[in-house]
């Protein structure tokens, strides 16, 4: 029931924020429109945060039940978090018209993700090598 009510909250927030952002970006101080966009995005994310953590807890308990190594699950979770936050930042930069900075943000996120995934790739290669020998 809580999720049913909050989808309407989110839609209302998004519509009002979009109208205000369009209104402000044509005025004397277009940067404030960008700030409104950022604030609306963050507020929407904070609205869905409790439900998201519920879903993640469920996944965690499922992973515990089938005896997946929790290290791998934590790594996947971290990768999703990095991807989300980097996409948020890059989209803000792109909205401001700075596509170059957005590309750099995405590149940094890719490097971070590769760094996190390195132990998993090493484990896969090691098991392949063990199969071959």
């Amino acid at each position: 029931m809580a999720s049913f009510a909050s989808i309407f909250t989110i839609i209302g927030l998004a519509i009002v924020a979009s109208m205000l952002a369009v209104f402000l970006s044509e005025g004397r101080l277009p940067v404030i429109g960008l700030l409104v966009t950022i604030a609306a995005g963050i507020l929407i994310f904070l609205q869905i945060l409790p439900q998201l953590s519920q879903v993640l807890q469920l996944f965690n308990s499922l992973a515990d039940k089938v005896n997946i190594n929790t290290y791998y699950f934590g790594t996947i979770l971290k990768i999703i978090g990095i991807a989300y936050i980097a996409e948020f930042g890059a989209q803000v930069c792109r909205d401001a018209g700075q596509g170059a900075i957005a590309l750099k943000v995405e590149f940094a996120a890719k490097v971070g993700i590769i760094l996190l995934a390195m132990p998993i790739m090493a484990a896969i290669i090691q098991s392949v090598l063990r199969l071959l020998s």
Partner: protein, 66 residues
């Protein structure tokens, strides 16, 4: 939902800054008009910064990024 106030605050800030800017420009005080733009932008940024901090804290705690 008191966080929603920040969107309306930013809108009111932008409108007030625009009015002040137009007023000062009509009065021939161009440097003060520019100063109002800078001050308005600074106030807006200072208001949004804690919200961004909140987002980073939330993402860090949910996705266990340390």
């Amino acid at each position: 939902m008191q966080d929603t106030q920040i969107i309306f605050f930013l809108t009111a800030l932008a409108i007030a800054v625009t009015v002040l800017h137009t007023f000062l420009k009509q009065a021939g005080r161009d440097e003060y008009a520019y100063l109002t733009l800078v001050v308005g932008l600074a106030i807006g940024l200072l208001k949004v910064l804690p919200v961004i901090q909140q987002l980073f804290d939330g993402v860090q705690s949910v996705f266990k990024l340390y």
